[in-house]
Symmetry: D2
Subunit: 143 residues, 4 copies
């Protein structure tokens, strides 16, 4: 009955670093995806199942804030929340910290359309809305 | 004496697609980097030279809008503009379109700190500010 | 009537570097893909068209040799050759050099099955074999 | 006193898929890196520590075999072994399977030089060789 905040453990891969010695900027979006995947699984609607039922959640917007460095092999923790975005969009809010110190690394928001396999926007199916109802705040309502 | 708008030609790589059949969302940030690289080179301050002089431009924010699909092997064009962001930050505005139709694919803004190799913020060096002065609008002024 | 050797121009992206200051090892395989894409287009069978006709070329093997460093913004040239690999497989041989000095960066071979969209091996269609016949050596013959 | 075989748990990320619906081929090398990282940590010489001591292990060769599909969100297990490769090189052998069925996904070998930060080959330091002596077979001997 309470809002779901999922936790994801990550370790910075060497492939995710760049010559600046910290993670390359686009990795934030890949880590945000790991956070969404875990949130949806814990919410009872694994994203792989959504796609097999014909429901896709492509990004329409992403906003990323870079707050601190993270180096190869650093342990990170991502916390993910979800909520409505307008009439028929979904929003994920993600913060990523160093596992030990809690120091902020990156945070951001991604906004997702709900579409069919061809990319055409659809209204959220009732089974989807109902399952998420108590895990998000004000899901499927106008902002 | 006019603002510099650089043009970058891209082709969607297979490695940049995902199972949705279009480009994976984080690729936008990698393409934005290609746009910045070309803008800085054409402005006379190639980024590789900036780093060898001790000036780094790490991202502090990124805002990405997804406007249309792009498939493997599609030809894209990125247009890049740069400008000041507050007292000591740099802003790049990038739009990416299909080369043939001109249809929008993705656009966004990245905000960059100016730092030394250790990541400590520094004021923009005079040679940097002077070189860019006529290519950006109001560079190095408060917003 | 002569074997096709295609040329691909690449520039090392910042996203392709790692904290060692050169390109991350898996990028070789992404650059090899760029080489294959250009070879197939010049051979008259663009890969995007192959897939839309139901012919896929998934990798079954890759062999990569790392010969020299390449840094951010370095200009590289990839040369690609293709040939048969056994009864029903395709082989690409790729070498990547620095554009200016010609110094070797990475080279390798990828072996590809010919499959339907579900991944089931198929014999090369006649239109495919005929188109490639004079661009590869001994295509579709046993080794 | 017995050879070390490390185990790494992976989940296929959406960013690692491509439009063929399985993982993109270069991801194998990124997953192999995760296997090496875990092997070296369990062997008592975390790779981050190696670099901070001035010892780098860049790839000189990679050989990858693609044996089966793996889809988004599939759970995989990587098993990693290490051993000598010639007088002064290191070899990792990695196999990746589906966690549930044990079906093979990809396997391969990477060969690594031992270098200083500038990329110059060096002989393996004694502390490195001694630490690994009972975890690899015949380390630091000619093949």
């Amino acid at each position: 009955m309470s809002v779901l905040k999922s936790t994801t453990h990550l370790r910075v891969r060497y492939s995710e670093t760049d010559q600046m010695g910290t993670f390359y900027n686009s990795r934030s979006l890949e880590w945000f995806e790991c956070g969404r995947t875990d949130w949806l699984r814990q919410a009872g609607v694994p994203y792989a199942q959504l796609e097999s039922r014909g429901l896709y959640l492509p990004l329409v917007e992403a906003h990323v804030y870079y707050q601190g460095r993270a180096r190869y092999d650093d342990e990170l923790v991502a916390y993910t929340l979800a909520g409505p975005a307008g009439r028929a969009k979904l929003r994920f809010d993600i913060t990523i910290h160093h596992a030990g110190s809690g120091l902020a690394v990156t945070s951001g928001t991604t906004i997702h359309a709900l579409t069919d396999p061809a990319g055409k926007p659809i209204r959220p199916p009732e089974w989807f809305t109902k399952t998420l109802a108590d895990k998000v705040s004000r899901f499927d309502e106008s902002p």
